[in-house]
Symmetry: C2
Subunit: 385 residues, 2 copies
């Protein structure tokens, strides 16, 4: 009568009142997939920091500890899965780390997806440096980590500039920390490297979300232009001394989007089933399903932002079939619909607002069945000779 | 390409990490209906207070004001609907009241659903007494209020013990505060009164959720037993000097459930369309749709709690076709599955946990189409003579 229940998740991340990052990007999609999600908010901000202006407060380490105490006293920490994202500061992260250690001790089968939110290639480290060693220590607790390129390099100490250094970084993380699974969200690679990987084109589900005929800058492998780098996502598992790495080519979408990594880690958590071996092993399956949901929502968000300049959508919808750099509305163009003083924070905010992930409006894309994003298993011995 | 969007909601309520009250009972159901919900959390507690033990913190009045400032500076307060629930303390409520007043001034068409969370008939006042005059002052801002019996009596000053005093309380609230709509969530009335109202039986959608054949204590009008009181919900509008009140008979479900009122007010907000006149006027339509969702989820939650004794569902499922008082698991019976010391907080917690509203698992019931819960327009002049 009640159907299969996928289980209870504890998600420890940031909360923004408006927009979709952190728990706001994770909770609703997980609930849409049927997960009973318990939500610890590490901050409560009006909006994400990409807006340029934000106001709000952090949950203090003492407050976090009190919440975990309340849950534990009532016997409510029985989650089969736990997810951590942005935690502000070393002391708060330490409280979270102690909690995860307890959960893994009580239930070694508890699946822990750790998103080591520390920085990005463009911005550098955006957390306090004393957070880094705590994350390094927490890697031993994780089932899956979902770092970006900056975080892989920071955690492994290996600068990635070739397939050999990529291989070295993955092996370092897997072996140093007994870390079984790495979902390396994306790295831009030169087309010369990517062509040796024989990566499949985006799936039909993705293509069908585009207006027809497709704009020329969305070609078969979704590359912005033939001379540009290609975004590649890697799913790497290290089981019984064997490295098994899968790669997925992703379309490049120009412009700034927030919460994409948070949605990705939540979807990896949702679709990771440790015992699975077929049609794909557990991690590439989870990454494949996660990428399908994330890339579709990202595309739909991008299309929406192109057609809605200004908070009330008053500007003329822009042609989609032009080159991407010419279809992203500028501040000046948004002003033509509703003029604002250049120093008015609302000027940047309305540009941010139309790029908030459309997880609610496009919720049907989250729960759709079918295969995931197509990937390719890497033959390391061939690639490294 | 993007479909009709129902709009943006600002919801100001409590947050619990685990379980479904306040924003946790409102946000996901509103999102499931397609609303883009901005979420201000007035507290962050581990779980609701019905568990007996809880830990966490309140958002201070200064923190609330800072969040609203951040939203306003970015031009993000453009909501077409706003919902307020539990706000801890007079000072915090004052901050919220100032914010709502601004929103209504900027956009008089903004629909404000005010749930004046102050107490209940069983427990009495559970907020500080200095909250009461602030709520009374805020009534003039509200489009719809969703009080329970205790709150109707407190706000109107009228003790309800007959149809005449019910009529007086509604008229007092409507006229004193220029309040157009009251969704009076439920009041137990003697069967002798209810029979004069000719209220229709529960709809088929509800009946279909029951195991067949129906247990004897769910009869056609859902009354626990013929000699018991009947729960009645009233939707009362006062437009152009005319009182238009509709009544809905509700099944009695034994046992303690939390968050029911919060889910109800969210669903009233979701389904209230001010210009609607057919097939029902705006408020009875919204209440009818809200009751259908709430009553179905409540029934499914009840059935689940009967079949899952203990947090891990280890106890033998209990027969459903017995009388209600004999199918609700007691602490002693839960102990037979997993013994706990009588003073262990987990003892009460596991009884609470299995009665958390199943909004996630039963999400299909939230978005289903079709007519709502059947109601009956009251002929006051006939009833009061």
């Amino acid at each position: 009568m009640f159907g299969a229940e996928p289980g209870r998740v504890l998600s420890i991340q940031s909360h923004v009142v408006s927009g979709y990052v952190g728990n706001r990007a994770a909770t609703f999609p997980l609930q849409t997939l049927g997960y009973d999600v318990d939500v610890v908010n590490t901050v409560q901000f009006s909006n994400h920091t990409g807006y340029g202006y934000t106001n709000g407060h952090k949950t203090t380490p003492e407050q976090l500890a009190a919440i975990f105490e309340g849950l534990a006293t009532n016997g409510l920490i029985t989650h089969s899965r736990v997810l951590t994202g942005y935690v502000p500061g070393a002391e708060a992260l330490q409280v979270v780390g102690v909690q995860i250690e307890k959960m893994k001790k009580d239930n070694p089968d508890c699946i822990y997806v750790l998103d080591p939110v520390m920085g990005d290639v463009g911005t550098g480290l955006y957390v306090s440096p004393d957070v880094v060693p705590i994350y390094k220590d927490m890697l031993r607790l994780a089932t899956v980590i979902t770092p970006n390129q900056f975080e892989v390099e920071l955690l492994s100490g290996v600068k990635i500039d070739s397939l050999a250094t990529l291989n070295a970084a993955l092996i370092q993380l897997h072996t140093e920390h007994s870390l079984p699974h790495i979902a390396f969200s994306s790295i831009p690679l030169p087309i010369s490297i990517v062509s040796t990987l024989s990566l499949p084109a985006p799936p039909q589900q993705y293509d069908r979300l585009l207006p027809t005929p497709h704009p020329p800058w969305f070609n078969a492998v979704g590359v912005g232009a033939p001379d540009e780098d290609v975004l590649v996502c890697f799913a790497s598992s290290f089981v019984d001394g064997q490295l098994d790495t899968w790669a997925f080519a992703l379309p490049t979408i120009d412009g700034y989007f927030s919460g994409v990594g948070d949605l990705f880690s939540a979807m990896v958590l949702a679709h990771f089933h440790p015992a699975q071996t077929s049609p794909l092993p557990a991690l590439p399956h989870a990454v494949s399903k996660a990428l399908l949901a994330v890339q579709q929502i990202l595309l739909r968000t991008h299309l929406y932002s192109l057609s809605h300049a200004g908070p009330s959508g008053t500007a003329t919808p822009r042609p989609f079939h032009a080159a991407p750099e010419s279809v992203i509305p500028t501040d000046a163009e948004l002003d033509s619909a509703a003029p604002l003083n250049p120093k008015d924070p609302r000027r940047k905010a309305r540009r941010m607002r139309i790029r908030e992930l459309r997880v609610v409006q496009e919720r049907a894309l989250i729960s759709q069945d079918g295969v995931g994003w197509p990937g390719q298993r890497l033959n390391w011995s061939a690639l490294l000779t």
